[in-house]
């Protein structure tokens, strides 16, 4: 019984409930949402679509979770993704002279191109982290700089063009399948696992939660809060980079203007829907991932219901407001009073 209670208090509960509710809605009202087709050894269907389209967002949500845990935000992730995509595309090269629509080779070896893209993105994160933690610039302002400047940088890299690529191995990441499922899903799982292990099997997670909860106390305890914040921004940059490479691989092009556009807001939304507080402190990676899926499932549902494209944002807003209200402490207290008629745990100790 206590275990169930403890389980119900977890951050992820709400996002799981919301996602289940949405799926349940689709069971009854969106015919075909759950149908899976096996074509040429690949699964097709809305569910797969949610996973696949949600992949870039999930990467960004992972990075954003760390940043939000410090009590900051990183609104440059969309632009950083565009930079990473541009770097990758530039190094792979868009060459028309290929036969049968695909280029035989890339300008630079593929691992090097991807490595360079991810390194650039990480450096963007390091730059953000430097501004925020060492110079003390407000996170919103610091990352706004790169959000604006980042698209310019991406355009410089692509020289203002949309670079279309024709090198097939690069497309595997975004369009390939393995054992019937899109490859990018495996990558999401792997990256999420690494991020989880990094936060739990090292003490970074503890230091981060501590820094985000009470900066001053954490510093007094001998922990370099600035370094922790810096690392969080670097991770966020790296994750945005992976998302950027994925987007480029999926659309087979690097579009400095539109790749990753408005993703930062969806990423923040995913993290918050996952039960993470914008104030920082305790965080849940799983919650953020579920939050990202929720955002994507919502978008897909709205599309499938044939809601006109221009009202999508309004529908999203309504959902966000609802979940936002439910997450407030006041509402939770109110709910707790209805659910169990005993004082909450906060009053049991400390006389």
């Amino acid at each position: 019984m206590d275990k169930i209670k403890a389980l119900l208090r977890r951050k992820e509960v709400l996002s799981i409930a919301a996602l289940s509710l949405l799926l349940l809605f689709n069971v009854f009202f969106t015919p075909g949402f759950f149908s899976l087709e096996l074509k040429e050894g690949h699964f097709y269907g809305s569910l797969i679509d949610v996973l696949k389209r949600g992949a870039p967002l999930m990467f960004m949500a992972i990075g954003m979770t760390f940043v939000i845990a410090t009590g900051s935000t990183d609104i440059s992730v969309g632009s950083v993704a565009a930079i990473a995509g541009a770097v990758a595309a530039q190094m792979i090269g868009g060459d028309f002279s290929a036969t049968a629509g695909t280029a035989a080779s890339s300008l630079t070896p593929l691992p090097l191109a991807i490595g360079a893209a991810l390194l650039t993105a990480t450096l963007c994160g390091v730059w953000n982290g430097f501004l925020v933690s060492y110079l003390g610039v407000q996170a919103l302002i610091a990352t706004l700089m790169l959000q604006v400047a980042g698209r310019g940088i991406a355009q410089l890299v692509t020289r203002g063009n949309v670079i279309t690529m024709y090198y097939k191995p690069f497309f595997e990441f975004g369009t390939g399948y393995f054992l019937g499922l899109p490859i990018c899903i495996y990558v999401v799982l792997a990256v999420a696992l690494i991020a989880y292990l990094f936060s739990k099997k090292t003490s970074y997670g503890l230091f981060l939660e501590s820094s985000g909860s009470n900066r001053s106390s954490t510093r007094y305890a001998g922990i370099k809060v600035q370094t922790m914040i810096w690392i969080a921004f670097a991770i966020s940059g790296l994750m945005a980079g992976i998302a950027g490479v994925l987007i480029a691989s999926e659309v087979k092009a690097a579009d400095a203007n539109n790749a990753g556009l408005n993703y930062e807001l969806d990423a923040i939304l995913a993290v918050v829907l996952g039960g993470n507080s914008m104030k920082g402190g305790r965080f849940s990676l799983a919650g953020s991932l579920i939050g990202a899926l929720l955002v994507q499932a919502l978008t897909t549902t709205i599309y499938m219901k044939g809601v006109p494209a221009q009202t999508i944002l309004v529908v999203k807003a309504v959902v966000v407001i609802l979940v936002g209200i439910i997450q407030t402490t006041n509402y939770r207290k109110l709910l707790a009073r209805f659910v169990k008629k005993q004082p909450s745990e906060a009053f049991e100790v400390g006389k």
Binding site: E209, S217, R219, A221, E348, G350
Partner: protein
């Protein structure tokens, strides 16, 4: 004194906050042309009284008379119109605007067609500054002037031609000696013009230099009001902290141990920070409890912060165990074997939404670094060991630390430092705001650690606590170290040192 000289009278002022009577029938009288100090330790009610006078807080009882007429200021703007002006500790001015603009912001003199009359504004500003005996170019940006001048501008802004009462809340806290002179000069000028000035300061020397009369509050009660010349320093201090010095105490239960051989753990030469605390030399030995004593704002906490690297000293020479070291952050200090229980438990100590276990192992894990994570089982073991050792009342080590009572939170922080087995433990007000039982337990732990040969630095505003458990006491006043007491340290000796050290007149 003739009745018409009374400028401001506050009678039986009562203020009740939820659960606490912040002011209990407090009386206060200010004469024309008088500089009047309001004295008291933390929680005495000084700022509450000022807030009521300036209309920032409503009163729950009592009367205020200004020039004999009852007044009811509801907002600071009201009070300003009535002639009560306030300059707060932090200067709320715009450094990039000109001095004149700062003085007249929001009430610039207008020309007939609506534009700002710059000429008039500048000349009025010059007059206003001249009242404070300062000649300056009022068209210059405020930021180009020193803090003291900025303070003066803040006063000029507050002091209208119709101002009668000026409240200065800690005006000297960020000024150096020369700047304080300038400020005092200006204050004397205003006094000559018949203004009544309420002066709040932690600096005893300054109070004795500038004030005519002192009113003392303690725990929300009116204690006394007298001309300063009839109030010896010793009396002022004992009235502020509420100790009757006639009852001479002698404590026998001070920790006794072999104090014959003194081994230095920490020594600093020239430890100070400009504008925060004047430099001094400090040594801390193994196995001793070194007490820091003094009144609120005297520099005891500031010194501890410098020792622990929270603030950087200007140019100190620090030696630990005979080796020269640099301590620029708490992490450095911890590496050298120090731990620090800060004064403000909530903001600097406990991390409320982490568990007791996480709070306890935080410093130890911090020293180990990111990649050497202490296994969970070991963390639980450590946490439970200290929960038992310090009898921390918590249902389990996974309880959120924020749910614990104050005394237990303090023990959790103590446990955090015990895990790293420090050689020097700095305790800043470790017993503040916790109940008597927990207090005694914490004092016992301090004694035990000291007997184990650890160096302890003990800071407390309760002088008898310092006297009781310290083998040696450093006394601070007005942001500098003014004395060192050894041997039989009694509350009386500490108070005498605070009152008279460095004074020509050798009392008592």
């Amino acid at each position: 004194m003739p009745e018409e000289k009374v400028l401001l009278q506050m009678n039986n002022i009562v203020k009740i906050y939820p659960g606490v009577r912040a002011l209990n029938n407090v009386n206060f009288t200010l004469q024309k042309g008088e500089i009047h100090s309001l004295c008291g330790e933390n929680g005495a009610g000084k700022s509450t009284l000022i807030k009521i006078l300036t209309g920032a807080e409503p009163r729950d009882g009592g009367d205020i008379f200004l020039n004999g007429n009852p007044v009811f200021p509801k907002t600071p703007m009201d009070a300003q119109k009535l002639g009560v002006s306030t300059v707060y500790q932090e200067i709320n001015l715009c450094p990039n605007l000109s001095v004149a603009e700062n003085i007249f912001i929001g009430r610039q003199p207008r020309k007939k067609i609506g534009g700002i009359d710059w000429k008039k504004m500048n000349s009025l500003s010059e007059t206003a500054m001249a009242r404070l005996n300062i000649k300056m170019d009022v068209a210059d940006a405020l930021g180009e002037y020193s803090v003291a001048i900025q303070q003066m501008v803040a006063i000029a802004r507050a002091v209208d031609t119709n101002s009668k009462v000026l409240v200065l809340d800690e005006p000297t806290s960020s000024l150096d000696t020369k700047e304080v002179r300038q400020l005092f000069h200006a204050m004397r000028n205003l006094k000559k013009q018949g203004m009544g000035i309420i002066f709040i300061s932690h600096f005893i020397d300054q109070i004795y230099e500038i004030t005519d009369r002192v009113t003392i509050l303690r725990n929300g009660n009116y204690i006394d009001s007298r001309p300063i010349k009839d109030l010896p320093r010793m009396d002022l201090i004992s009235k502020m902290i509420g100790k009757d010095i006639a009852a001479g105490e002698s404590y026998k239960d001070r920790i006794d141990g072999e104090r014959t051989e003194k081994k230095k753990f920490y020594s600093a030469k020239n430890l100070g920070k400009r504008g925060v605390i004047s430099p001094s030399d400090i040594t801390i030995n193994y196995g001793e409890v070194l007490g820091f004593a003094g009144l609120l704002g005297c520099g005891r906490t500031e010194t501890a912060r410098l020792i622990f690297g929270i603030d950087r000293p200007d140019d100190a020479e620090i030696e630990i165990k005979g080796k020269k070291v640099k301590i620029n952050s708490p992490a450095d200090a911890i590496r050298q074997g120090m731990g620090f229980c800060p004064e403000d438990r909530k903001t600097d100590g406990i991390i409320a939404n982490l568990t007791v276990r996480e709070n306890i192992i935080l410093a130890l894990q911090g020293r180990e670094g990111i990649f050497k994570r202490i296994p969970l089982a070991r963390q639980v073991e450590i946490a439970n060991y200290y929960i038992k050792l310090l009898s921390i009342a918590t249902p389990s080590c996974e309880q959120l630390a924020g749910n614990l009572s104050g005394g237990n939170q303090q023990k959790v922080i103590l446990a955090r430092w015990l895990t790293i087995n420090p050689e020097l433990l700095l305790l800043d007000e470790p017993t503040r705001g916790i109940d008597v039982g927990a207090k005694a337990e914490i004092m016992n732990i301090v004694v035990r650690l000291s007997n184990e040969g650890k160096a302890i630095l003990f800071i407390s505003s309760e002088l008898d606590e310092v006297a009781r458990c310290s083998g040696r006491v450093l006394v601070f006043r007005d942001r500098s170290l003014i004395g060192e007491l050894e041997g039989e340290v009694s509350t009386r000796r500490i108070m005498e040192t605070i009152a008279y050290a460095g004074q020509e007149e050798a009392h008592g």
